[in-house]
Amino acid sequence: MPLNKIVTSFDEAVADINDGAVIMVGGFGTVVSTPSCLLEALDRKGVKNLTTVSNSTGFGADVWRMAGAPFPEDMDILVRNMRIKKAIVAAPVSALFVNNFEKLLRAGKVEIEMVPQGTLAERIRAAKAGIGGFYVQVGVGTTVEEGKEKKIIDGREYILELPIKADFALIHAYKGDRWGNLVYRGTSRTFNPTMAGAAKVTIAEVDEIVELGALDPEAIVTPGIYVDRVVARPKEAPKMEGKTTDAEAKESRKKYEADLKKAQRKRGDR
């Protein structure tokens, strides 16, 4: 039987992600590298008590809608709907914007493990590579070193960092085929190829599914063996069905810009 990892709906793709799962979510700060439709499906499923592993915790769909992103949901959809028990994250809050995660954090409604961005990437890669841990200088002499084994190598101090194990990795790519081979577009690789294969199950949301053989073998970034499911975004972005009216989006954008200015004033920027 031919190998076929294509699933036909986002709901089907996330059907076995249950309460308490540990999930990696690809992307960086901007929404275009994020598996937006998988996050929406996961939210629809109503899962609770997730542990998430991601670079950041989202700005919210309204910000991205105003920026013209056709699929605007980011990590915020899981944050604002209280689906997260604990976030393992490099940049939980924005210097310029109070996001919903910060509000939950202040209210004591979410746990956090903050990890330097490169250490986060390497801990994910270690899980993917079957490495039991690694030593880095990053974090030495800071709060990050607390509770970690130290070692002197060549006269310099290092700390031991361990792999992050996860049940699912939700990633986004540009094009994929039925074997799960993936290519990306521009700066939208970010954590996506890093996370592919790092969890027990990797689910790739792609802009387009192409025939096997259509992707140039020289250009494939993620070989299919790291990917378990491939699901395509709709050709056209769904209408917003009154979820947010333009007036609401404008209001939110205005508030975002006001917050931004306030933060800049506070920081003493001129």
């Binding site: 960086f28 700060g29 901007t30 275009v32 590298s33 670079n55 920026a67 013209g68 992103a69 490099a90 940049a91 939980p92 809050v93 924005s94 210097a95 109070v98 910060e102 954090l105 202040r106 903050m114 990890v115 330097p116 961005q117 490169g118 250490t119 990437a121 390497e122 994910i124 890669r125 880095v136 200088q137 990053v138 974090g139 030495v140 002499g141 800071t142 709060t143 990050v144 990306y184 577009r185 521009g186 700066t187 939208s188 690789r189 970010t190 954590f191 996506n192 190829p193 890093t194 970034v221 933060a263 506070k266 920081r267 003493g268 920027d269 001129r270």
Partner: protein, 229 residues
């Protein structure tokens, strides 16, 4: 005698001029990572005749200028989320590779903002004091891994509080990592002998700068007005 209150109100360099001064540090063929804010502006001021390769944490080397708002491709952004232009020689990679470059010493210069820098070059820039919350991002990796860390920041807090301090009171991002501090009134080098004042803004004296700096500054015998060209 000028009082501290006078100095707080006194005219200082603006952000663009600070960025221009930072960019003078970029040598030919350097690989440079720019943080958000004033550091990012330095991309526009690479000295003529020097080829500089910009690195961004989200997985790109050698990108072009920042586009006008609304004109770029959302799949081509710098770490601050600003859309940038395609440039010859540009390359893309994932996050693990991006930080292999950072930790592995492949980045020549990292320019970041800061809340505090100590006289030993300890850096505090991941804790947001006005919000009492931290966000590490890539700051710790860059502070540890880049060959030269340059800090671009205002010399004091808005109400004149020291930001160049004897010892950081905010949580430290990395110890003994800062090599050069470019502020809105001075350029200061971190050396084994202490903080050496190299340049002052027009209209400022070394004595003025000392008033707004907690640790004792060593005034370089060649200390001069900031040169921008």
């Amino acid at each position: 005698m000028t009082t501290k209150a006078d100095l707080i109100k006194k005219e200082k360099l603006d952000r663009q001029i600070m960025a221009l001064r930072v960019a003078k540090e970029f040598q030919d063929c350097n690989v440079v990572n720019l943080g958000i804010g004033i550091p990012g502006l330095a991309a526009n001021f690479v000295p003529a005749g020097r080829e500089v390769i910009f690195h961004s944490e989200n997985g790109v080397l050698g990108f072009g200028e920042i586009t006008l708002p609304g004109e770029g491709d959302l799949d081509l952004v710098n770490a601050g989320g600003q859309t940038v232009k395609v440039a010859p020689g540009m390359s893309f990679f994932g996050h693990d590779e991006s930080f292999v470059m950072v930790r592995g010493g492949h980045i020549d210069i990292s320019v970041m903002g800061a809340y505090q820098v100590s006289e030993k070059g300890d850096l505090a820039n991941h804790f947001l004091p006005d919000r009492q919350i931290g966000t590490i991002g890539g700051a710790m990796d860059l502070a540890c891994g880049a060959k030269k860390v340059i800090i671009a920041m205002n010399h004091t807090t808005k109400d004149g509080g020291y930001r160049i301090v004897k010892k950081c009171s905010y949580p430290v991002t990395a110890n003994k990592c800062v090599k050069l501090i470019v502020t809105d009134i001075a350029v200061i080098e971190v050396t084994k002998k202490g903080l050496v004042l190299k340049e002052v803004a027009p209209g400022w004296t070394p004595e003025d700068v000392q008033v707004l700096t907690e640790p004792k500054l060593v005034v370089d015998p060649k200390c001069h007005e900031i040169e921008l060209m």
